[in-house]
């Protein structure tokens, strides 16, 4: 991995999602065909004003969410198979649970080459729609981050997360 200095190129922040359905994590990197991928923090902001006219603002939580659009179905891609199953079988509740990992590819673990600082979080997959235009079958989906965020390292070779 090249040493990253100065302004960090977008490709050095990697986003992985667990596409596994058997209990064993199978992380797939997001980003192909995505010109933009943003995790919206959706902070829960409470602002109150007392009788003196002073404002008090607190943030007591976040509801992070991101949108993967377009997502083109590719035969053999485990993420496609999971999304197709959700759409086909109209899955709900626990069947939509997964984990996502954000990897800082500019922060390599000095103790282990190929491992980088990463954060894993529980998430829910929401398939928004499927079909799309003539460019190919699309299954755009949203990812709702639901907490249990932990810091660790991610090995990009084996695609495994290790909690610190």
């Amino acid at each position: 991995m090249a040493e990253v200095t100065g302004k960090i190129a977008r490709k050095w922040m990697a986003h992985f999602i667990d596409a596994g359905t058997t209990g064993t994590a199978n992380y797939v990197r997001l980003g192909t065909d995505l010109e933009e991928y943003t995790v919206e923090m959706n902070a829960n902001v409470n602002t109150t004003q007392n009788i003196l006219g002073e404002a008090s603002t607190i943030i007591d939580g976040y509801e992070p969410q991101s949108s993967v659009e377009p997502y083109y179905a590719v035969v053999g891609d485990p993420l496609y198979e999971r999304l197709q199953k959700i759409a086909d079988e109209r899955l709900t509740h626990d069947a939509l649970k997964t984990t996502v990992v954000e990897v800082h590819l500019w922060e390599e673990d000095p103790a282990e080459s190929g491992s980088f600082v990463a954060y894993r979080e529980d998430a829910i997959i929401e398939v928004v729609s499927y079909g799309g235009d003539t460019s190919g079958v699309q299954i755009p989906f949203n990812i709702h981050h639901v907490g249990n965020r932990v810091k660790g390292t991610f090995d990009v070779g084996t695609k495994t997360f290790t909690e610190n």
């Binding site: 190129a9 977008r10 490709k11 980003g31 192909t32 065909d33 995505l34 010109e35 991928y37």
Partner: protein
């Protein structure tokens, strides 16, 4: 094989090409009938995803000198260009390409071909009996993997 070599190869493989020409030159059209010249006229970035993979477009102009003594000749020439445009649009092979950028070899694949402005371009000598030059602009979209970029 880079995108220029690939497109030349694809055009050479066009089943009807021998009805119209004998050889495709690069950036050069001989002054004999049935001679083709493929000119590369630019390459531009169409979009880039967050992984650094790029979709690029390379533009070409294919020039062909052909006889045009009669309306029959000219209709045949235009029909050839129309057929070629259809064939290019339907070409779906994702042929691999390999390019060198900043001394790094980057692999990719062809995404598709399209064309425009297939028409009589000029009469080189001013006398239509000496043959005329046709052109067709060809656009090749291709994909480059981020590794190495």
């Amino acid at each position: 094989m880079n995108i220029i070599e690939l497109v030349k190869h694809i055009l050479t493989d066009y089943p009807k090409i021998t009805e119209f020409t004998n050889e495709i030159n690069i950036d050069f059209t001989d002054d004999t009938h049935t001679n083709f010249g493929l000119s590369s006229v630019g390459d531009n970035l169409v979009k880039e995803d967050i992984l650094g993979n790029q979709v690029r477009q390379h533009n070409f102009v294919l020039y062909a000198l052909n006889q045009s003594y009669t309306n029959y000749d000219r209709l045949a020439n235009s029909t050839f260009l129309l057929d070629l445009a259809y064939w290019l649009e339907q070409y779906k092979n994702e042929d691999p390409i390999e390019v060198t950028i900043n001394n790094k070899t980057v692999s990719g694949k062809l995404l598709g071909l399209s064309s425009a402005n297939a028409m009589l371009y000029m009469v080189p000598t001013g006398d239509i009996n000496d043959g005329v030059t046709y052109q067709i602009q060809i656009y090749a979209r291709y994909y480059l993997e981020s590794e190495g970029l």
